[in-house]
């Protein structure tokens, strides 16, 4: 196991270097730059723009810029934002809390609800509940999240006045109740789509398990149905969910762009979009490296957990 983990870590480092080079190249080869927003301004001339370009080092050859950035990153300096001069790690850190809060809440709701719907759908296959769950999942996966978000705001905020129309908290009120009040709508909207995903995966996995011989044997032995489902079927059906969880892991800290925009949530998704729009290269590269690291960690954890949970699996 130790050798396996070591090999995976070495592969991860190589992958991160490739991702960084490719990401840097694509980002800088796209036309435009961080100073384009000032080009139409009446206060900055072409000469001013050229001067600032030189001062930011953006006129250097791309390979030199990349090596400079990479060298500093290895020393722990992820650079500074072109927009506010703040350190990239500081900026990412300031958005992580909000992101984790929203994504973790939505994920917990989605896992619990989705697994319950999936299990029930598998056990009562082709029943009314299963049909409704299938239709609901299709709707949730088909309709855009921003539509759900805006409809939620329209009904619960504009007309009923039950929920705030956005933000993470009321400014000046840092109470837990206020935070929860603001969390309800965006978490539910996000959880809606994730519930559909978890539900469908769980249903398929459960269906595969309940038709196995050992389940038939357990029934023949006279075990109660609830015990068959929870002790035997569910535990085995959850194994593939580890892979799904591994894929979902990066989103815990990666954010959800559309939901964050609709609900004015100050998360990583919005930060990424804003940074791309402004061509804030250091922040974009920082988020890219952070997300890539999360993906690699997620898949490694999933593989290790799979091996721990399933004694039939051996790694290394």
């Amino acid at each position: 196991m130790a050798r396996y983990v070591a090999n995976r870590l070495i592969q991860a480092i190589l992958l991160l270097v490739i991702v960084s080079a490719l990401g840097f190249a694509i980002l800088h080869l796209a036309p435009g730059g961080p100073l384009a927003q000032f080009a139409v301004s009446s206060q900055m001339s072409q000469e001013d723009l050229a001067r600032v370009t030189r001062q930011l080092g953006l006129d250097r050859p791309l390979p030199i810029q990349y090596l400079d950035w990479f060298g500093r990153m290895l020393r722990g300096d992820w650079g500074r934002s072109y927009r506010d001069g703040e350190g990239v790690l500081t900026i990412i850190g300031s958005h992580l809390g909000a992101t984790f809060e929203l994504m973790a809440t939505a994920t917990v709701i989605a896992v619990l609800l989705g697994c319950w719907i999936g299990v029930l759908g598998a056990v009562r296959r082709y029943s009314l509940f299963d049909s409704l769950a299938t239709i609901g999942a299709m709707i949730a996966l088909s309709i855009p999240t921003f539509w759900f978000g805006l409809v939620t705001i329209y009904i619960f905020s504009v007309h009923l006045g039950w929920l705030p129309s956005g933000d993470r908290q009321t400014i000046g009120d840092g109470s837990v109740l206020d935070l929860l009040h603001h969390l309800i709508a965006p978490a539910m909207v996000l959880a809606l789509v994730e519930t559909a995903i978890w539900g469908r995966f769980m249903r398929s996995s459960m269906l595969e398990v309940v038709n196995q011989d050992y389940i038939r044997t357990a029934r023949a032995k006279g075990l109660p149905e609830w015990r068959i489902l929870t002790t035997h079927a569910l535990r085995n059906a959850l194994l593939p969910m580890i892979t799904v969880a591994g894929l979902q892991f990066p989103t815990l800290l990666g954010g959800a762009l559309v939901t964050e925009t609709v609900f004015t949530w100050p998360g990583m998704g919005r930060l990424f979009l804003d940074s791309i729009g402004y061509r804030d290269y250091p922040v974009v590269m920082g988020i890219l490296m952070f997300s890539a690291t999360m993906v690699l960690i997620g898949s490694l954890l999933a593989d290790i957990l799979y091996a721990v949970v399933d004694p039939r699996i051996r790694v290394g």
């Binding site: 435009g32 927003q37 080009a39 301004s41 001339s45 909000a98 705030p164 100050p266």
Partner: protein
């Protein structure tokens, strides 16, 4: 050079002595009163002051912005939303009010030729400063801070917003803690307006930093403005608290919060539900304006901005070289349809690059008429013959071109469709070539690589109409010039007028010069103006003091005067 009377008109306007105005001052007063009467009420609309401001700062205002302020050093490159925050934290020597008058802020009085603040030749400036202004940390503001700020701007290692005007400042002398003198390399009257946009920074803090481009000050600024720095939650909001030791009027609010809401629909929704008190840049979308006007507990203000929406032709590209083509294209544009159908009738038609509310606006420009028949006749007479495809050509040059704008801007994209239709009728073929903002405003715009662009530009330098960087022959970046004459406009008469206007300190004479310049630009059709842009802003009922200001890039300019009734 200044004329023999040596008056600096705008300064005279802002410094009238009520007891015994001279003839020039009286005429200027009459002119400004007349101008105010002709200006649409919405330009100066303000929330009625039905109650007096409180004795102490009270309450808070949440101002929603669709772009996030991220630059808090007022001398570094920033956009309009950044400037809106700077005006709360920092102060300039003077500012410009909605009527175009300079009003002293850190300066004790506006320097004029009359009061000796500016020498008759415009070269020596003597500024008297307030002695009661304090930085937010309690340190006294002095002339040393002014000198430091101007020196910092001209520091080649400092990543400054712009050195236009400042690079002419030489031999800065701190004569006393409340007086500073300097010499200008050449007379330059727009510098008054440039200084109205230049905030002073604290010497006692910034002289200690090793890197002027990066210091704790950048994210925890200290100024002399009506509000002091509170906190910033990146991607969410900025909170400012009242500076109770402020030297000027106000502040009457305890707190101001700038809230970042990137989506304009969401921004309007939060205004509607009462989560925000004021919708700042970019305001309420035109399609929501009618509904917004019916909202109870809210007031809506539709005001003009200084930005002029226009078609920017590359004057050295093929068919655009011919002035007749530009005139024909202009006559073929149905401006009313663009304004009414796509912009809900909110903006106003214009013929000038100067806002209609500005002191320098020339009202007697030829008025556009939508006349495709005339456009066709002009082109026929000029030898532009329709080919088999219906597209005109002359001397091997086809009347076809691309038009570019920011992709994703739905209103502009629809405008382009109307233009395609309008121009097809006169045998001109336009193709759309849109691109994201970060691309189009890069080299494509700056190096004049476009055929034509649909764009909104604020041509003014604050309240000053000096457009040398926009229309001066030596200001074309594509030809190595210093400026942003991306149209590649070249006209010796325009150069002469621009040079004369920049040297002239008498307001009345400057008005004539810039009036002539507007006539020239209009006649040459260096730009095809569509309309002067407008912004629709909303405030919650009870919020007093809001006043749009055509001379500033943000209507947050006077938040120190806002209060809850």
């Amino acid at each position: 050079m200044a004329d023999e009377t040596g008056r600096f008109g705008v300064g005279a306007l802002g410094h009238l002595t009520p007891g015994n105005p001279n003839r020039r001052q009286f005429m200027l007063l009459g002119a400004s009163a007349g101008a105010a009467l002709t200006v649409p009420a919405s330009a100066f609309a303000q929330s009625e002051g039905q109650a007096n401001p409180p004795d102490k700062p009270r309450g808070q205002v949440i101002a929603a912005l669709s772009q996030e302020p991220t630059v808090f050093h007022p001398l570094m490159p920033g956009i309009e939303v950044d400037q809106g925050v700077w005006w709360q934290i920092f102060s300039p020597l003077w500012f410009v009010d909605p009527a175009g008058h300079f009003v002293p802020d850190l300066a004790r009085e506006i320097p004029t030729i009359d009061n000796g603040g500016i020498s008759a030749d415009g070269l020596t400036w003597k500024i008297k400063l307030r002695s009661d202004a304090k930085w937010h940390d309690g340190t006294a503001f002095t002339a040393e801070d002014v000198k430091f700020s101007l020196d910092l701007i001209n520091n080649p290692d400092f990543r400054v917003l712009s050195r236009v005007g400042h690079r002419l400042v030489k031999d800065i002398k701190v004569v006393a803690p409340d007086e500073i003198h300097w010499r200008m390399e050449s007379p330059y009257s727009p510098y008054m307006s440039i200084l109205s946009l230049t905030c002073m920074v604290p010497k006692h803090i910034l002289e200690k930093v090793s890197d002027p481009n990066n210091s704790p000050f950048h994210n925890a600024p200290v100024g002399t403005g009506p509000f002091r720095w509170g906190e910033r939650v990146p991607g969410d909001h900025i909170l400012l608290n009242a500076h109770t030791g402020y030297h000027g009027k106000g502040p009457y609010l305890e707190r101001v919060v700038f809230k970042y809401i990137p989506d304009l629909t969401v921004l309007y929704t939060q205004f509607r539900t009462g989560q925000v008190d004021y919708t700042g840049i970019q305001g309420i979308l035109p399609n929501f304006v009618q509904e917004a006007k019916t909202l109870r507990g809210h007031k809506i203000f539709v005001s003009s901005t200084a930005s002029v929406e226009h078609i920017a032709p590359n004057l050295e590209f093929g068919p655009f070289v011919d002035r007749t083509v530009r005139e024909a294209l202009y006559h073929a544009i149905n401006k009313k349809a663009i304004i009414d159908a796509l912009n809900y009738g909110l903006p106003k038609q214009t013929e000038s690059f100067v806002p209609q509310q500005a002191w320098s606006f020339q009202p007697d420009l030829p008025q556009h008429s939508y006349d495709p028949a005339k456009a066709n006749a002009l082109l026929d007479a000029a030898g532009w013959v329709r080919g088999a495809s219906g597209i005109r050509e002359k001397g091997g040059v086809k009347l076809e071109f691309t038009n570019s704008t920011t992709s994703g801007n739905a209103v502009r994209e629809q405008t382009q469709q109307l233009l395609i239709q309008d121009w097809r009728a006169i045998g001109a073929a336009m193709r759309v070539n849109d691109m994201p903002a970060a691309v189009i405003w890069g080299d494509f715009w700056q190096q004049s690589k476009f055929n034509s662009v649909l764009v909104g530009v604020n041509f003014m330098l604050g309240s000053d109409p000096d457009v040398t960087p926009r229309f001066g022959s030596g200001a074309t970046p594509a030809k190595g010039g210093r400026g942003y004459n991306t149209y590649q406009y070249q006209n010796p008469e325009a150069d002469r007028l621009l040079a004369e206007g920049a040297r002239q300190f008498d307001l009345a004479q400057r008005k004539v010069i810039y009036g002539d310049l507007q006539k020239l630009i209009r006649n040459d059709l260096a730009i095809l103006p569509l309309f002067q842009s407008s912004i629709t802003e909303g405030v919650k009922e009870g919020l007093q003091g809001f006043r749009p200001n055509i001379n500033t890039s943000s209507n947050c300019w006077n938040m120190r005067e806002w209060y809850w009734a």
